[in-house]
């Protein structure tokens, strides 16, 4: 499924999605990714290093944040480049979990290459948790 670049404009929101992360999400991501750092499943360890409690893996947040863009493109293989800074942690409460909200809008368009840069806004509560989260995608 290709996307006609002429139908897109800078600033247009192309995808939005919310993710209700739980401690179970963190356990599942630890197993899938091989990142078994204690701070992602043990409150005592997280607190001992000055954190409020168990945090989501930065790479879990980054991994879910690109999914609305993949859904919009219809193909994960159309992601050419994806980068982000981990600016704020996402604490995941044992009972409440954490709601991560993603909004994806067009940052730039390249007619010649038929690509777009999609900028992600990723928030937990009032806090933006990823900085400069940008995805370059093929529209072909």
């Amino acid at each position: 499924m290709s996307i006609d670049i002429s139908t897109l404009e800078i600033g247009q929101v192309v995808a939005e999605r919310q993710f209700a992360l739980t401690r179970g999400s963190l356990v599942r991501y630890a197993g899938a990714s091989g990142d078994f750092n204690d701070i992602h499943y043990r409150d005592d360890v997280a607190i001992s290093v000055g954190l409020p409690g168990v945090l989501a893996h930065g790479m879990l947040t980054m991994g879910v944040a690109v999914q609305p863009v993949v859904d919009w493109l219809g193909d994960p293989g159309k992601v050419l480049d994806y980068g982000a800074r981990f600016t704020r942690p996402v604490p995941v409460d044992a009972t409440e979990g954490a709601l991560v909200v993603v909004s994806a809008k067009i940052g730039t368009l390249d007619d010649e290459a038929n690509t777009a840069r999609v900028d992600l806004t990723v928030t937990f509560g009032e806090t933006t948790v990823l900085g400069k989260a940008q995805v370059r995608v093929s529209l072909a």
Binding site: G58, Q67, D71, D75, P76, G77, F86
Partner: protein, 146 residues
């Protein structure tokens, strides 16, 4: 940490065989809704040989290179003081199930910043023919009280 690490190139990792079930497991873990990550027929209908990995899947392969860096005797990196600062993936082509991937780590920069160190580790990931697939770039912040 040791500033001499800058520019160091590590030996290639053992080949990593990308399994179909590993892609499905990873896809589930990142809430992928794309059938191309779970349904072989859908992936083939879209022109791929097999399941397509989610965009952040190279972390699984990159992990072995970061272990090389942390284990380097003269690096002076204490894992318990490491925070992930930034991550990027630059693709030549998507990863599909059946790929045999090898990663080569280059420490592209080491900087000191207000008592902390920042190390940028670039893992160049190639397939069994040696062709480039994706480069995974991690910036790690090593807290200065290490």
């Amino acid at each position: 940490m040791n500033p001499d690490l800058q520019g160091r190139v590590f030996p290639p990792t053992e080949p990593y065989l990308v399994g179909r079930e590993k892609i499905r497991e990873f896809a589930r873990a990142v809430y992928s809704a794309s059938p191309l990550t779970t349904d072989v027929a859908a992936a083939r209908a879209a022109g791929y040989d097999d399941l397509v990995a989610p965009p952040t899947f190279p972390v699984v392969v990159q992990e072995a290179t970061l272990q090389q860096l942390l284990a380097e005797p003269d690096a002076g990196i204490d894992f318990s003081h490491v925070v992930h600062g930034e991550q990027r993936f630059s693709y030549t082509r998507p990863i599909v199930a059946g790929d045999e991937l090898t990663a080569t780590l280059t420490v592209s920069s080491v900087k000191s910043l207000g008592g902390n160190s920042m190390v940028t580790a670039e893992s160049s990931i190639v397939d069994a023919t040696g062709a480039h697939v994706v480069t995974a770039i991690s910036t790690l912040v090593v807290r200065g009280d290490a």
